[in-house]
Amino acid sequence: MKVFLDLMWFFKQEKKAYLTGIIILLFVAFLQLIPPKVIGVFVDHIKNDTLTAKIMLIWIGVLIAAAAIMYVLRYYWRIMIFGSAVKLSRQLRNKLYQHFTNMSQSFYQKKRVGDLMAHATNDLQAIQQTAGSGVLTLVDSLATGGFVIIAMATTISWKLTLIALIPMPLMAILTSWYGTMLHKKFHKAQEAFSSLNDKTQESVTGIKVIKTFGQEKEDIEDFRKQSEDVVQKNISVARIDSLFDPTISLIVGISYFLSIAFGAKYVLNEELTIGQLVSFTTYLGLLIWPMLAFGWLFNIVERGRASNDRVTALLAEKADIIDEENSVEIVPSGDIEFNVSEFSYPDENVPLLRDIYFTLKRGETLGVVGKTGSGKTTLLKLLIREFEGYNGTIQFAGHPLFQYRLEKLREAIGYVPQDHFLFSSSVAENIAFTNPDAEIDEIYEAARTANIHEDILQFSDGYDTVVGERGVSLSGGQKQRISIARALIMNPEVLILDDSLSAVDAKTEEEILNSLKQNREGKTTIITAHRLSAIQHANLILVLDEGEIVQRGTHEKLMLENGWYKDMYLHQQLEELVEHGG
């Protein structure tokens, strides 16, 4: 029940709705007592032959009024209590989303998207249930249960009430126990289902491999086996699930039996009238729900608490990279000075960068090359402040990076990442990502510079073609070029291409580099690449190896040195030289 305390902030916030809802619930619980009472009155009048048309009309009038009021009230408590619960999940969801947008990349390195999604969906669902059904169940079962028991004990017979109630707690205990077991088995069934899901996902995405090796039959057999596992796991769920109804009806049956048996004795002793006995059994019917509800409540609350704890813990995570106090509100523009003696990712000991010192004048182009894993991307990530915690400083236009407001710093940078992620919206919207109000001409211009304009015009809906996960699939090269256009439209002070030309062919690469040369006149550009042709024109080329600069200079200078650069260059030329020299 601690979760209700944890959620108190929300109950306080929605005080009015919850209080109204609870008061209405109490009213309904009270009004519910009327029909059984009226039944009892009728039975006694009929039995004693004292029923008149007038008495009948009065009581029927009472019933109609009670029914109508209950209908209205039942509608309203739902709005109040369930409505607030939905509000809670909306509020938490927004809060989580905002939190996600504030978290630094180190957070995303540690967490998996799937888990974060689960928090935002399943956990919120469980919390919503606690704030809705949980509150309802608690209040309603206490109120209805309490009122009914009081009515039974005071207006009929407290002795009979006690006797009839004997088996009831057993019901709450058993159903709650089943609930816990069910939850466990259900979890297993879910796991089996999700591995079936993974299997299907794999088969569908790997369909070419399966077809290539002609293993359709074997794969179907594998699927059949896994789906059999799902069936078995679900049957063990069903084994528990099927216990609920029989248990309930057995216990209710025993309770009825006890009340009729002992009630009959009291009727014979004239301690009770038959009408009261009929009322009593009807009241007993009203008790089933609160008892069941109590069993449920524990499960709802338990799940709600676990979920709430997880979400709270998630929200408590602090972002690593935040604006300093007094950070300046200017978009930096000027030279970049890199003085980093060492950097390693949080929680890792191996340094990824060591002794990186260089100055890049405004308007110059920097090329960074080296093997995979040599630290090229890491270097860029420090520059865009995705990571911090290095020894040394990185200065941009005369100030260390952290002195700029993060937003302003990033306004100066157009970044084209290695993994070209596009959003599920139109091509135009993807290119105009930083400025949704961009003129279509600006979008065209950026696309032309990135050499993708002609391709886009070939798409089924041109610039309105939806791309991304749920849109048409594009080739890697097309995606890369769209992400280049997305960065270009900002006309950024610094353009960063992180191996962004890897999926385009040599001819396209050359065209893009040419148009960039004109477009980026006077502006700083940083390019990392595997293919040396992409950085050959750079003012400064850094060769990285295991996080250190092993060579630096212009293409011409590097070609005069013996080292990786020249080797690589010669390697790429080797065949050509053999051809022409021989």
Partner: protein, 597 residues
């Protein structure tokens, strides 16, 4: 975004009947379940009747004879206990049947998916195919398990109650029949509105989740382009729409669900009380009958409530089922082969004869392609992206059907070989080698359980991949995580080589096999390729021209046509497109100008 549509009456019934046809193989179990259900229902109905007999025959007239009363009590308890056992098995049986039916449905739709051609996979996102096989069938399962079973059980109980009512008092039972149209009315109204609102809610939820999932995946981009505020706003808007939809659902549920049913319940009590009240003015009343009616009413509404709450599930399941059936009725099948069981590929000569092809029947991606790869020779395909290289391989692998021209293997049409023969004799290495969940061994062996560990290791050794495999934790039993993303693309490629070589094909097909790999790994791959190609006819696509210099024939493709052909030397001497590509790739733009200018 997948639009979920509301399906209208007639189609809905067709879908339901088609679903129900899956029950056929389980007819015996179903009959058993129904018999059990019948027994439980009778048990449920008998309880109040026993109490009625007790009240009217013994309690009211104060006629206390021990033996019959004891017998009544014993019967009551006996029935309760028996009922518990029978109803447990009944409930379980129904669930078992439902689960088995869904399994069959799943296997059927999965088999169908496997039989579909790649054309289908091109136009359908993978996620939605997976959804058909798992999530949609899960929704149908929910319907079978809870909706259908609840409806059947509820219907049995309601009918049973009415039978009991008719036995007790025909006239009153007739009056009580009024309740039925009233309930039906509410149900219809609820179904009509809730199906709209509920559908809407689900759609909003899936939008919300899609937005969230996409934002999480693209968070680095959002942050670096500082669009956090805009996306928060967009998310809040979708969230708000979801909230509104949620509220609408609460309202409709509040108006038409439990509160409405409870209203009908009180109305029914009024009906019964009035009936007995009015009758009592003229004639004596059996209190026990009144008790039994009231007690039946109490039971009557629980199944109704259950059924109402599950209506939305029904709607959903029907929509899901119609989507599943749409896949099952899909006609975009994988290209069929002529039945020629005995024909086998021996030499491995490949000939393309005037092959033209179009994916969309509008624009030809291949135009009059003709070439021959002699047994053991290598034919390389080069060209700009979209020049048709991959299409040639797609046709050769029979991923797509073609009508114009002919592809011949050992002089016979490729269509005349059995599919298995083609799969065994032709080995394809994909551009992005797909790594499955499982161990390294599993990934080389695939589903071929006859392959021994020795053979696997030999294959790996042959293609130079044992070096990196042996360094892994557990070596060949290393568990691959996250689609092999911990391996470099070169390592993945080597693994794919091993997979292909383990199957020992006669013909080797390499699809952009050497693209995107750093130079060091490439050398290992080169070595492996040279060994693999020995004695095999090879068709290779390569981005890097250096990898195919020793090919017997190089075809330069441009917009679906072969514009140049010859070996490396000949093509360079031509100083045409190939020569330009070659120079460009080696970073010699200045010399390209010489050539062009």
């Amino acid at each position: 975004m997948e639009k979920t549509t509301v399906i209208k009456g007639k189609e809905q019934r067709q879908v339901l009947f088609r679903l129900l046809s899956y029950t056929k193989p389980h007819l015996k179990t179903i009959i058993l379940a129904f018999v059990l259900l019948l027994v439980t229902t009778v048990g449920d109905i008998l309880g109040p009747i026993l109490i009625k007999i007790f009240i009217d025959d013994y309690l009211s007239p104060r006629n206390l004879v021990f033996e019959p009363i004891f017998a009544l009590g014993a019967a009551f308890i006996g029935i309760q206990i028996l009922n518990v056992l029978v109803s447990y098995f009944q409930l379980l049986k129904f669930q078992e049947i439902a689960l088995k039916i869904i399994q069959q449905l799943r296997v059927d739709v999965f088999s169908k998916v496997q039989a579909l051609g790649l054309k289908y996979f091109d136009k359908t996102p993978a996620g939605s195919i997976v959804s058909r096989v798992t999530n949609d069938t899960e929704a149908i399962k929910d319907m079978f398990v809870s909706v259908l079973v609840t409806f059947i059980q509820g219907a049995f109980l309601i009918i049973g109650i009415f039978i009991a009512m008719f036995i007790l008092n025909v006239k009153l039972a007739l009056f009580c029949l009024v309740i039925l149209p009233l309930l039906l009315l509410i149900m219809r109204a609820y179904r009509k509105y809730s199906s709209i609102f509920y559908q809407d809610l689900r759609e909003r939820l899936s939008q919300l989740n899609a937005k969230l999932s996409e934002s999480l995946q693209g968070m680095a981009i959002i942050q670096v382009f500082r669009q956090e505020k805009r996306l928060r706003k967009e998310f809040a808007d979708i969230n708000d729409q979801h909230y509104q939809a949620g509220m609408r659902n609460i309202k409709i549920d509040g108006l038409l669900l439990r509160p409405a049913i409870d209203l009908v319940y009180v109305f029914a009590i009024i009906l019964i009380l009035s009936f007995f009240g009015i009758t009592s003015f003229n004639s004596p009343i059996e209190i026990g009958v009144l008790y039994a009616f009231i007690s039946y009413l109490d039971r009557f509404f629980e199944p109704v409530n259950n059924m109402m709450q599950r209506l939305s599930m029904y709607q959903q399941a029907i929509v899901a089922a119609s989507r599943v059936f749409k896949v099952m009725d899909e006609t975009e099948l994988a290209p069929a082969q002529e039945l020629n069981e005995n024909r086998s590929i021996s030499a491995g000569e490949i000939e393309f004869r005037n092959v033209s092809f179009s994916y969309d029947h509008k624009r030809d991606v291949l135009k009059n392609i003709s070439f021959t790869a002699k047994p053991g020779e290598t034919v390389a395909l080069v060209g700009h992206t979209g020049s048709g290289k991959s299409s040639i391989i797609n046709l050769m692998m029979r991923f797509y059907e073609f009508e114009r021209g002919e592809i011949l293997i050992d002089g016979q049409s490729i269509k005349s070989y059995a599919k298995d023969e083609l799969r065994i004799k032709m080995g394809l290495v994909l551009q992005d080698p797909f790594i499955f969940f499982g161990t390294i061994k599993d990934n080389i062996r695939l589903h071929n359980q006859n392959m021994t560990d020795k053979e696997i290791e030999a294959a790996a050794q042959f293609v130079q991949s044992h070096l990196f495999i042996e360094k892994l934790v557990d070596g060949y039993d290393h568990q691959v995580v996250e689609r092999g993303s911990t391996f470099s693309s070169g390592q993945r490629q080597l693994l794919a080589f091993a997979r292909t070589i383990a199957a020992n094909p006669k013909i080797l097909v390499l699809d952009e096999a050497t693209a995107n790999i750093d130079t060091e790994t490439e050398e290992a791959i080169q070595l492996a390729l040279a060994k693999m190609r020995k004695g095999r006819t090879t068709i290779a696509i390569a981005h890097r021209l250096s990898t195919i210099q020793d090919a017997e024939l190089i075809l330069v493709l441009h917009q679906g046509e072969i514009v140049e052909r010859g070996n490396h030397q000949e093509l360079l001497a031509k100083r045409g497109l190939y020569h330009k590509m070659y120079l460009l790739q080696n970073g010699l733009e200045d010399r390209v100008e010489d050539v062009v200018g």
